[in-house]
């Protein structure tokens, strides 16, 4: 079998700069050929056999669970594209501003064919720095897209003041403390930084996240634990930025521990995702199992959990388990307690 084709998912509102970015990807000479699955042909001004229009068709899988959904159109288009896989090096999937990113990502885990042919490389969210705060107030999709992303392009940065930019970045961090944020003007970014980087590989996200590696980073797990419960009338300057996301229940919980008992861990993660799956947007982690020479990486979307041995722990590496959940209504106390109970 040949290597799976890397897939980048682009989310973001109309006007966030998705089309500009797609045009850059299609017109710059970077030696790579991309097949692009878009919603509307017309948006892109480039004529190309490998631009395929598609219509976000959500399929519920027959287990009757609302969160277990895939994109039927992606399964069809990718199946057809893969018949001539020599034509392109990678696939980009553009989603509409209103799209829930979960079914897109889940397609790459829940459909056997797509899973064999293609591999999710990264979910990139384009964000309009000028309008994000407004979006977050009125559109749950905007929150989901940010919470879900591996990489966030904070676009139109030239249109906001430093102060506004700080607020927007802080609002993003509340929803997703672990995404890589790149500020851009007119979606101008070194494509090498965002494409085919294996950003969906947990290793990368967790290892590249300096905050995660800071020993005291635990306060990042939750925006509400600086000593009091924030309320709507909470106006002290150090977290003024949380006013808008306060309306949402999206938070993240970062867990760390030492060596885990593998049986207990798998039982726990399966149970947690079965019960709380609908509320879990993303989970990613690197786990050290007792008596296992390999690092174990785990990731999940809603009720899907995937894991694999990644590589042996290095001699100078601390055998530490790290896991982050991003989602709605996460019970920080329960997650921390039950995770801790899985220690070897």
């Amino acid at each position: 079998m040949t290597q799976p084709i890397p897939v980048t998912v682009l989310t973001g509102y109309l006007g966030s700069g998705k089309t500009t970015l797609l045009n850059r990807i299609l017109s710059q000479s970077h030696g790579k050929k991309y097949a692009v699955i878009v919603n509307e042909f017309g948006e892109i001004g480039i004529d190309n056999d490998l631009i395929v229009s598609s219509d976000e068709e959500i399929y519920e899988m027959n287990n009757g669970c609302v969160c277990c959904t895939v994109r039927g159109d992606l399964i069809r288009v990718i199946s057809n594209l893969m018949k001539r896989r020599g034509r392109f090096d990678a696939i980009i999937v553009e989603t509409t501003g209103l799209a829930d990113p979960a079914p897109v990502a889940q397609t790459f885990f829940m459909d056997d064919d797509v899973r064999a042919w293609a591999k999710l490389d990264a979910v990139i969210a384009l964000v309009d720095a000028k309008h994000l705060m407004l979006r977050l107030k009125d559109a749950p999709e905007a929150e989901d897209q940010i919470a879900f992303a591996d990489v966030i392009l904070l676009n139109k940065i030239d249109l906001v003041s430093d102060d506004e930019r700080g607020k927007v970045e802080a609002a993003i961090r509340v929803l997703n403390p672990h995404a890589v944020i790149y500020p851009t003007k007119q979606a101008d970014i070194d494509l090498g930084l965002i494409l085919d980087r294996g950003a969906f590989d947990l290793d990368r996200i967790l290892a590249d996240d300096p905050k995660f590696l800071e020993p005291e980073s635990d306060h990042h797990h939750h925006e509400h634990n600086h000593g009091h419960d924030c309320g709507p009338d909470c106006d002290h300057p150090d977290h003024e930025y949380t006013t808008s996301p306060h309306d949402s229940e999206i938070t993240s919980v970062s867990l760390r521990g030492t060596e885990m008992n593998s049986d207990m861990f798998f039982q726990w993660i399966n149970k947690i995702t079965q019960i709380d799956g609908p509320d879990i947007l993303r989970l990613k982690g690197i786990i050290a199992f007792a008596d296992d020479p390999d690092r174990y990486v785990v990731q999940g979307i809603h009720m899907i959990v995937e894991g694999d041995h990644q590589r042996p722990w290095k001699d100078n590496e601390k055998r530490e388990s790290r896991l982050v959940f991003i989602g709605r209504n996460l019970d920080h106390e329960k997650l921390t307690r039950t995770f801790a109970a899985c220690h070897a």
Binding site: D49, V52, N62, R76, K83, R84, D112
Partner: protein
């Protein structure tokens, strides 16, 4: 081992079969190869997505990324049936009296022998298409069921409902059963007790480890063979309840190797089976006797079709290996 006449086209073989008596291979890049005294190689499409044989066996009907629906005859002459612009035509079917059905996205069309075209639009994508034995009706597989349209009447379709995504559809040769392949690892069936209303019993056929992508009725519709398991799963359809309450036969069980395509013999109760390792087997359904026709290959077998007399079998793989096996 029987004699194999091998080719390698190095492109995904969408369809391997016989046009009249001539072996024909339709490839995903849009080329069509007809093996004759002087081989014919044409490129009717810019990207080919679907192909099937007309019921008289003398035309290959194809659909492409270029939106074209074409009919190709044994001389390599191309007749255009439709042009849907830049829509991908990835579902196609042939019916009696020269009927051709095709679908792209949420629209399906039927064209009759006089080139009269009729269209049907659905709320969800049409994923499968087939004709009833007499061609009066065309079945469209869709999300949450099947729509049975009249090909010649302007009457409302009969809707058969079952939750989930139906990716392909077939009607038994006697017209009494409709079976779909599904996005989940299962087949779903309806016994058509009253074809006018769609009333009838449901049939669930489950237990597959992967998606079923290929199904084929044996001669006279006695059995329905299917891919999606490490053996061909063959369901009995001789009783009026179809396979309900019966266990299927598992033919050509090959350990870990998955069956990717099945094609039943035109007259005998025999099924040809293609595997993901390139192997091809023929198995007699009644006594389960196996004959290895091709030991192995580089890529999964994607297409298998018998010639009219059932003495030759054409195969094609996902990486372009193709050939004709003389039985």
């Amino acid at each position: 081992m029987p004699e194999i006449n091998n080719s390698n086209f190095e492109v995904f073989v969408e369809y391997a079969g016989f046009l009249g008596d001539l072996p024909i291979f339709a490839l995903a890049d849009g080329t069509v190869q007809i093996l004759a005294t002087d081989n014919i190689s044409i490129m009717p499409h810019n990207g080919l997505l679907s192909a099937c044989l007309s019921l008289d066996g003398n035309k290959l009907i194809t659909g492409g990324e270029d939106g074209l629906v074409l009919a190709i005859n044994p001389h390599g002459e191309i007749h255009q049936i439709a042009d849907l612009g830049d829509q991908w035509v990835d579902k196609i079917a042939a019916g009696p009296q020269g009927l051709v059905g095709f679908a792209s996205g949420r629209s399906a069309f039927v064209v009759d022998g006089n080139s009269e075209q009729k269209g049907f639009t659905h709320a969800r994508t049409i994923e499968g298409i087939c004709f009833a034995p007499k061609g009066k009706r065309m079945a469209l597989a869709r999300y949450n069921g099947v729509s049975l349209h009249w090909t010649g009447l302007d009457a409302a379709p009969v809707e058969l409902e079952w939750a989930g995504s139906h990716t392909g559809v077939t009607i038994s040769p006697n017209g009494k059963f409709i079976v779909t392949t599904m996005q989940e690892n299962a087949l779903h069936g309806w016994r058509l007790d009253n074809p006018a209303t769609g009333d009838g019993k449901h049939m669930r056929m489950t237990g597959y480890p992967t998606k079923v992508k290929s199904i084929s009725w044996s001669a006279k519709g006695k059995w329905l063979a299917s891919s999606g398991a490490p053996a061909a799963i063959v369901w009995p359809f001789t009783s009026k309840d179809g396979p309900m309450g019966k266990t299927p036969k598992e033919l050509g069980s090959m350990g870990d190797n998955l069956v990717t395509v099945v094609c039943c013999h035109p007259s005998q109760q025999v099924v040809a089976i293609g595997y993901d390792n390139g192997m091809v087997l023929a198995v007699r359904i009644d006594d389960e006797k196996e004959a290895v026709l091709r030991k192995t290959g580089k890529a999964p077998v994607n297409s298998l079709n018998w010639d009219k007399k059932g003495v030759r079998l054409a195969f094609g793989s996902e990486e372009g290996e193709a050939g004709v096996i003389e039985i």
